[in-house]
């Protein structure tokens, strides 16, 4: 039986810059930073402090996972900004928005009220977009949303 999600991949263009973004700017916890053998794969993972059983692995497209052509296509999609990588949860969307913006995170949308919560949208330094959502306990049905 599947018991949960433990690791999910976020494609990045550079692992050092990715580490700086996720740990330095977003304030996530560094879980692993291990290189397997000389010039081998670098296993770089981060996670939220309050969620020990889920981590993001920050991977650069390329061999051996992808052939060079697929890796280039994936990098192009990243750079175009059409890939969404995750929905982050927060207890204070407004406060986090201000703090992350201060640290240089690029937001596409300031916090806005949605039926399920308050949500802002930001990008990482490579082009992935993310939601930052503060969920309501109950859906807001005071407005017709469609």
């Amino acid at each position: 039986m599947i018991t949960g999600v433990g690791v999910t991949t976020v494609w990045v263009l550079d692992q050092d810059r990715a580490k700086e973004f996720f740990v330095g700017k977003l304030g996530m916890e560094l879980r692993d930073d291990v290189t397997m053998g000389e010039g081998g794969m670098r296993w770089l993972t981060v996670g939220a402090k309050d969620q020990p059983d889920l981590m993001l692995t920050l991977m650069v497209p390329g061999p051996p996972a992808q052939d060079p052509e697929s890796a280039e296509q994936l990098k192009a999609l990243l750079a175009k900004g059409v890939l969404g990588a995750a929905v982050f949860t927060t207890t204070d969307c407004e406060g986090d928005y201000r703090e992350l913006k201060e640290r240089g995170v690029t937001f596409l949308q300031e916090p806005q009220r949605r039926p399920y919560g308050v949500e802002a949208i930001f990008r990482d330094d490579f082009g992935n977009w993310y939601s930052l959502t503060q969920r309501f306990a109950e859906p807001d049905e005071s407005t017709a949303w469609n």
């Binding site: 192009a76 949308q109 939601s131 049905e141 017709a144």
Partner: protein, 138 residues
Amino acid sequence: MGTPQPLDVAQLRRLRLAKDIMDRDWAQPLDVDAVAARAGYSRYHFIRCFREAYGETPGRYLSRRRIERAQDLLRSANLTVTEICMMVGFSSLGSFCTRFKQQVGMTPAQFRARARRDGPAPIPGCFVLLWAGGFRKD
């Protein structure tokens, strides 16, 4: 004219930054010239490259995003159609209403009347954003 070279990662990144300007500053008096200039492109080159990457011209993209914001405001804000038209960056009510009807299939007033009658649709806004920022054939 020869076959255009495919856009490389650095060019795509610049185009994304330009697109992000439109997503972020849509309410400001922004036009294609201003976005092209901020992204460091000539107007002609910018329009051509943007269209190649995203399948529509930057002018059309910007106006589409503005209409979408207007839909948001019509759902929830207690403002007149003219006020909303100005807020989302259109300078003429006539072109706003024409464009709105083209995109949404009804006038802003009809849209508001309908949105306030029907129940909520809990589709996450981030997915609406991505969907609206995607490709269109028309």
